[in-house]
């Protein structure tokens, strides 16, 4: 019973780790971890394949000299461009047609001449198709009635009747009040069939001209103008004679030709958009842009890989190191081994760490390689010489250190809590709002330290709101050594808390005798 040396304990922990590796790598309930680790690689790989395929396809139709590609200006005609640049690598065109109402000047007001002038006391407007849009609502802003000599509007302020108005403020009197400029209420509005508006001129008068002001005369949409209607007159208000009718304006087809032509200079693809033959829009982009891909990589790495993939991956691997053995009823074998509980914890943590670091640092390396491979070897070499190698290594290191930190956290959580969903949600939220926490609390999050281990800052739109900026790119320790030290310290504290729990842990498999 001699007290054991540190070396023999370390050897014990290593033995435990080696036994546990199998569980850490191949636990059935954690196989989805691999999917998380490899998903970004698949995205980059897919992007590379697509770019290579496009290059191949566009180049087959012939390349355009780069200066010619840059010479295209907006407003140029399609024929000119084609004459200068030659046949495009790709051409697509479509015609968009739209049925629109034939526009005439002042279409909101219609004038109806009655020849010869008719004697009438009542003038009546029957609306048969109240709008162009199909809406069954009649809108008349004003009806004016004139005699053969013109002069005064005979209908002005005369008693008017009509179908039940849409609202109290839109009665028939509004159509004879001499105004159209009083807003949308300055009209007669009705949707109660039959739609009619009738003015009593007071006595039989000769009527030679009727002017009707529709929706657009009062500032509403022209589609709401009255489409079909007729005008009737009467001496006694009983027998009406139709004196004029209007069947509205016709509909015409408006045709727009949209043509997209693509030219390719071997690296850049120019998409030129011609509308009715004139260049409306041009965009020239590289099919593969290393600079851009690296930014995308930085974004995916920080926002998806570190924050979600490694987070949930470590949950899957570490949470069940103890919990899983409790539910399999095999934990007592470890507790019956001649080893301190702390040594068991260290061994299991080491196993989880080896597995998760191999999976996620490996995933990061594969992702980095998938991002680079489609690019021009010369460009890759230039990037390699300008620190590309160290970028790759730091990404792998950041992933591995993420496992160090998150692994310890989930190992501890698994010892204290049975169900992973709630603690995972709480932790995710904690890491998520890290950016807006006071500085002292920020130091208690894994993400805080991982931020500054990434070689390229994540892309951030400078115009994004302040809060989003803080959340997405929280403050980080200035130096890498500082971040490393901080992360390891935090991990140490979390593991110490886990050790407290594992020392107190008792076997409880449910039903016992």
């Amino acid at each position: 019973m001699t007290p054991q040396s540190f070396q023999s304990r370390a050897r014990q922990a290593w033995t435990i780790a080696r036994i546990e590796l199998r569980r850490a790598f191949f636990a059935k309930r954690s196989l989805w971890v691999y999917a998380l680790a490899l998903l970004p690689s698949l995205i980059f790989f897919g992007h590379g394949i697509e770019a290579k395929f496009q290059t191949e396809r566009l180049a087959r139709r012939g390349l355009t000299a780069p200066p010619l590609l840059d010479s295209v200006r907006e407003g140029e005609a399609l024929d000119e461009v084609k004459a200068r640049l030659g046949e495009p690598a790709e051409e697509r065109w479509s015609v968009r047609t739209r049925r629109v109402r034939q526009r005439r000047q002042n279409s909101g007001t219609t004038t109806h001449v009655i020849e010869p002038a008719a004697g009438a006391r009542f003038v009546r407007l029957n609306v048969t198709r109240p709008s162009y849009s199909g809406e069954p609502v009649a809108r008349i802003y004003e009806v004016e009635v004139y005699g053969p000599k013109g002069g005064a509007n005979l209908a002005l302020h005369r008693p008017a009747t009509g179908s039940i108005p849409c609202s109290e403020t839109e009665g028939p009197e509004k159509a004879v009040n001499g105004s159209v400029a009083g807003g949308h209420d300055d009209k007669w509005c009705a949707e109660d069939w039959p739609l009619f508006l009738q003015v009593d001129l007071g006595a039989v008068r000769p009527v030679a001209r009727v002017v009707v002001k529709h929706a657009s005369a009062g500032g509403e949409d022209a589609e709401s103008d009255t489409r079909d209607f007729n005008i009737q007159v009467s001496d006694d208000g009983k027998t009406f004679t139709t004196v004029a009718s209007s069947t509205g304006a016709g509909l015409v087809e408006e045709r727009t030709e949209i043509r997209e032509v693509v030219y390719f200079d071997g690296q850049r693809r120019a998409r030129l958009l011609f509308i009715d033959g004139a260049l409306q829009q041009r965009s020239i982009r590289r099919l593969l842009d290393l600079e851009e891909d690296r930014m995308v990589f930085a974004g995916i790495f920080q926002y998806f890989y570190l924050r979600l993939a490694i987070f949930f991956g470590c949950l899957g691997i570490f949470m069940y190191l103890f919990r899983g053995e409790m539910s399999n009823r095999t934990l007592h074998f470890w507790f019956l081994a001649p080893a301190r509980r702390e040594v068991l914890l260290a061994g299991k943590y080491a196993a989880g760490l080896m597995a998760s670091a191999a999976i996620f640092a490996g995933g990061a390396v594969v992702m980095f390689a998938a991002m680079l491979w489609p690019h021009d070897p010369v460009e890759i070499e230039a990037y390699w010489n300008a620190g590309g190698l160290s970028h790759g290594l730091w990404y792998a290191a950041a992933a591995a250190l993420g496992c160090v930190g998150y692994g310890s956290v989930f190992l501890a959580v698994g010892l204290y809590v049975r169900n992973p969903i709630i603690p995972a949600a709480v932790l995710l939220a904690w890491e998520g709002v890290n950016g807006i926490l006071p500085h002292a609390l920020q130091k208690m999050s894994i993400l805080y330290y991982l931020q500054s281990l990434c070689p390229v800052p994540a892309p951030m739109d400078a115009e994004a709101p302040m809060l989003i900026q803080l959340l997405a790119a929280p403050a980080a320790p200035a130096s890498r050594p500082g971040a490393l030290l901080g992360l390891l310290l935090l991990t140490g504290v979390v593991l110490w808390i886990a050790a407290l729990a594992v020392r107190r842990m008792q076997i409880s498999y449910g039903a016992e005798t």
């Binding site: 007592h332 074998f333 019956l336 001649p338 498999y509």
Partner: protein, 312 residues
């Protein structure tokens, strides 16, 4: 302390509201000790406490002077074959044991040798390379035993070790227990059947409802049981029960006769089983038609009922 012992001192353990064991004070000397009690009485709880799988809420435990909170020292001298019928999915009989031995710091060769010896002792060499998960219940029982003894511990804790063993292996296993006990080791085993262990045990601890009911050398406990009157149920034909009852009541060794409501059955309590059997024979020869005689208390539960004074 003259000899190393396993000591429980006022130990209590509660599972939430449910009592596990209550104020157990017990000193177990080396040799074979059997913990006997019905299911749920606290045998496994005592064993788990002894080996540090669970910790007491009150009291103190020392296994040969070592606290169960120190597994590093305790488990070097202790082997525990639990009743948990589980093994890691990957384990074969052989790797199951070598894996455990590697944690003792044995080299590969020594671990394999020891594993082989342990498997041999329990007759598992043929099955050594098969997955434990595919073993029969009895084989899994034996492989757990083999694992518990592989590092040659001084204190062997075995939870229901004879359960599921066929008679041949059972006899061999019992011989093993005796051999270990002769070496001055602790062999602590549990059983819910007293007859199964009383012949082999140096000491028996009877447990019910989490407390120690009786403890001591096996003969003492046996005598206590022998003085306990036996009960029989006698069933007669043709409504002759009352006649038989009258005859039986005249026998001096019969202490009580109860007539069943159906007037065909009798509950008889006797101090002497042999005399009772002879008396029944005489009554039958006299022409009373006795249909059947069943011992009412040959099950262990009845024994406990007596030992703990009517609680069950």
């Amino acid at each position: 302390m003259s000899e190393p012992a396993v000591v429980f001192d006022e130990v209590s353990k509660f599972y939430g509201e449910v009592l596990g064991v209550n104020r157990v004070t017990l000193t177990i000397p080396p040799g074979i000790t059997s913990l006997v009690g019905p299911n749920g009485s606290g045998k496994t709880t005592l064993m788990n406490l002894m080996t540090g799988l669970i910790f007491p809420d009150n009291g103190r435990i020392a296994v040969r002077g070592i606290s169960p909170r120190n597994p590093e020292a305790l488990m070097r001298i202790t082997g525990y074959a639990t009743q948990y019928d589980s093994a890691p999915r990957w384990a074969t009989g052989f790797t199951f044991i070598t894996t455990g031995l590697r944690l003792f710091g044995y080299g590969r060769t020594e671990a394999e040798e020891r594993a082989w010896t342990a498997l041999e002792r329990l007759g598992l060499t043929d099955a050594a390379t098969r997955k434990v998960a595919a073993y029969s219940k009895g084989m899994r029982q034996r492989v757990r035993l083999a694992q518990a003894i592989a590092h040659d511990p001084d204190v062997l804790v075995l939870d229901e070790p004879l359960n599921g063993l066929d008679p041949l292996v059972r006899a061999e296993t019992i011989d093993l227990f005796r051999a270990w006990a002769a070496e001055g080791k602790h062999v602590i085993l549990s059983s819910h059947v007293l007859q199964e262990v009383d012949v082999i045990s140096d000491q028996v601890v009877l447990i019910a409802n989490g407390t120690i009911v009786a403890e001591g050398r096996i003969r003492k406990v046996r005598d206590e049981i022998d003085e306990h009157p036996s009960q029989y149920i006698v069933r007669c034909r043709d409504g002759q029960a009352s006649g038989v009852a009258a005859l039986l009541f005249n026998e001096p060794h019969v202490t009580e006769v109860k007539l069943h409501d159906d007037r065909a059955g009798l509950l008889v309590m006797t101090r002497d089983r042999e005399l009772f059997a002879r008396a029944l024979g005489r009554i039958a020869l006299d022409g009373h038609r006795i249909e059947s005689v069943v011992a009412a208390d040959e099950n262990v539960d009845a024994l406990y009922e007596y030992l703990i004074g009517g609680e069950s």
